[in-house]
């Protein structure tokens, strides 16, 4: 009652279907190449056009190579999917930021940085990490392809209203502990299903202190604990971030918008279906040891013992450790690392590369480690160059690639080979996620950089 989630959701209700879902108006639909071709086909089969084409923005990101983007994509199947999005966008009259367009990048990085995602909006995309956009104070969530078609057809979606949860993180983060660690910590407490059925408002002093980039990382990972989405109430930091961005309101419209955005906060009397509070003092750099993002632990801890896992979960736990090649009770520190990936919609923003460069500066990439640094967008890449971070990284033996989703899910040619251990700033450590047989350890950009320069899993605080 009287939560920010209620305010935004209720404002967008077109109707509540009798004994059924809510018809919710959607302000913004993002389309990438993977989850939309069948939706466009459906539109053609029904003989209909998008109801509000101006509210839809398309860009390829999953299949894009991270090198030679000025040349045709080598993989014909990937090329076809990327070309199909461009053709569909043209046919249906939708904005399309294609490869090499300076506005291209991972859709969840581009939306906020172009001011396309704004406070108070409802935002959807056929992608579970759409929750990212919640960082600007929007209700943003991932949907399936049939639902993409619904939104194209009607600018609405039918959904059950989720329950509300407030997760507060209070206190002050220690040096070397980042938004990624906070998110991995929360997941390790919640499990991958603990927030299913809920929409999460992140609050507390730690969240207020996070930069916008940090908030984007935190909201991005909401889905990994099962939540439909997560958001942070907009504040002065949000307004400062959005001001002047390409699609943000300008002039008198800006003042009017900010006046409205300032009302977007949960009431002091707000009642949440569930409230959880965490203490920043309990959070250290976190790494995962298993094959779901909830299997995380403090980097200096040991992998849990089998008897600490409930009976019905033991088979999955053992299967997971067997896949990773780890034993219960083992340390993660010191494990040999083959690949390091810094990028993705989780950690592909400027602050992430600043963090990586802060560890890499004056050091050298460890021999034998392959490292892929993939900015989330061209805008991020330009900022990296503007700040001279590329030079710092090059001197340490690293190279900045071209933007895209890359090794987060290995739909392009950035695949981690079978058996290799990867320390990755991405969002999922599922079996085969980074390539068949690949073994993934999720971590922050600082921890990824520490692994890249030492060749083993290393506490980044020892290098700061």
């Amino acid at each position: 009652m009287n939560t920010l989630f209620d305010k935004i959701w209720d404002r967008h209700v077109v109707q509540i279907v009798e004994d059924g879902p809510t018809q919710l108006y959607i302000d913004r639909l993002y389309c990438h190449e993977v989850t939309t071709p069948q939706a466009f086909d459906g539109m053609r089969e029904r003989g209909i056009k998008p109801l509000r084409p101006a509210q839809i923005v398309c860009m390829p990101d999953h299949n894009t190579p991270t090198h030679d983007q000025d040349k045709p994509i080598e993989d014909p199947v990937s090329k076809k999917q990327v070309d199909t999005l461009a053709a569909n966008a043209a046919e249906f009259g939708l904005a399309h930021y294609g490869m090499m367009d300076k506005r291209n990048g991972i859709i969840h990085v581009v939306g906020p940085e172009r001011g396309l995602s704004l406070p108070g909006m409802t935002i959807v995309c056929g992608d579970s990490h759409t929750s990212t956009h919640g960082a600007v104070g929007a209700v943003a969530f991932g949907i399936g392809t049939s639902e993409v078609e619904m939104v194209m057809a009607s600018q609405c979606i039918l959904q059950q209203k989720p329950k509300s949860m407030r997760i507060s993180v209070e206190g002050k983060l220690d040096r070397g502990v980042t938004a990624k660690d906070v998110a991995l910590y929360i997941m390790s407490k919640m499990s991958t299903s603990g927030a299913t059925g809920y929409f999460v408002e992140y609050a507390g002093s730690v969240v207020r202190d996070l930069s916008m980039e940090g908030r984007l990382t935190l909201c991005n990972l909401s889905i990994e604990m099962g939540a439909r989405g997560g958001f942070v109430a907009p504040d002065e930091k949000t307004f400062a971030y959005l001001k002047g961005r390409e699609h943000a309101p300008k002039g008198a419209d800006w003042d009017k918008a900010v006046a409205y955005w300032k009302t977007l906060r949960s009431g002091d009397d707000a009642v949440f279906d569930r409230e959880v509070v965490y203490d920043a003092a309990d959070i250290t750099p976190v790494v995962t040891y298993g094959t779901n993002p909830g299997m995380g632990m403090g980097i200096c801890s040991t992998i849990p013992a089998l008897n600490s896992v409930p009976g019905s979960g033991q088979a999955s736990f053992l299967r997971s450790l067997n896949y990773m090649g780890f034993e219960p009770g083992e340390k993660m520190l010191g494990k040999k690392v083959d690949y390091v990936f810094c990028g993705s919609c989780t950690n592909g923003r400027i602050e992430d590369f600043r963090a990586f460069a802060s560890i890499a500066a004056g050091r050298k990439k460890a021999p034998g480690v392959v490292c892929w640094l993939v900015p989330g967008s061209w805008m991020v890449k330009e900022q990296i160059e503007k700040e001279g971070l590329d030079k710092v990284l090059e001197a340490a033996g690293f190279e900045i690639r071209q933007p895209g989703c890359s090794a987060c899910l290995a739909m392009n040619d950035d695949k981690i080979p079978a058996g290799c251990l990867s320390v990755s700033t991405s969002n999922r450590n599922f079996e085969g996620r980074q390539g068949p047989g690949a073994r993934t350890v999720l971590a922050s950009p600082l921890t990824a950089a520490a692994a890249a320069v030492t060749g083993v899993i290393t506490d980044p605080r020892t290098l700061m």
Binding site: P37, Q38, G126, S154, C156, S316, M411, F430
Partner: protein
């Protein structure tokens, strides 16, 4: 695709693992398809568990075990977590499953199943663990899913539970209608909302 639901009675395929994510249901490399070819997705359902590296069927995986068959998949809790890919629902439908029984479904995947006329049936932990035991003891164990009555029955024990399904979606499933049919009818309401919120 669009098919009408009434009463389904079938043997089951058991997958007693928790947190089965959509990357396992259909790995990302199969998402490059630009058409909704359910046979293609069905052939690659659980691909990395179902086939060995050389492409031969893995005899240890349940879909390759001739003792188990039927149009009901029974899975451990938190089924369909992770990616929103509807391809996972297409693969389940394409393989021939019409019902998935679990004690807990991830939200987006649950919607995706419903939008593809695959019925997610949420049961209690107790019902689920007993059902796994029954199937293990007798692979020919049958389950009856009665959509009009919203009940699921383990025919080996007679244990029966009510399952949630809102009236709107139940009507859609029983009549083979999808949400877009409904939304296209509501254009006046959409325009009224836009006018009020301009």
């Amino acid at each position: 695709m669009k098919q009408k639901f009434d009463i389904i009675q079938s043997t089951c395929v058991p997958l007693p693992l928790e947190n089965v994510d959509t990357d396992q249901i259909i790995p990302a490399r199969f998402l490059k398809a630009t058409t909704r070819d359910e046979k293609f997705f069905g052939d690659n359902l659980f691909c990395d568990w179902r086939y060995k590296k050389d492409g031969q069927p893995n005899p240890e995986f349940v879909l390759n075990d001739p003792r188990y068959s039927g149009c009901i998949l029974v899975a451990g809790k938190n089924f369909g977590s992770g990616s929103s890919r509807e391809h996972a629902a297409w693969a389940i439908a394409g393989y021939g499953f019409r019902v998935v029984i679990s004690s807990f479904f991830a939200d987006i995947h649950r919607n995706n199943e419903l939008n593809n006329f695959v019925l997610p049936v949420t049961v209690s932990e107790k019902f689920l663990s007993e059902l796994f035991d029954c199937i293990k003891a007798n692979p020919k164990t049958e389950v009856k899913v009665d959509v009009p009555a919203q009940t699921v029955t383990n025919l080996a024990t007679g244990a029966s539970e009510h399952f949630d399904l809102n009236g709107y979606k139940k009507y859609c499933l029983m009549n083979g209608l999808d949400d877009i049919d409904f939304l296209l009818e509501s254009k006046n309401k959409i325009e009224a909302w836009e006018k009020a919120n301009a």
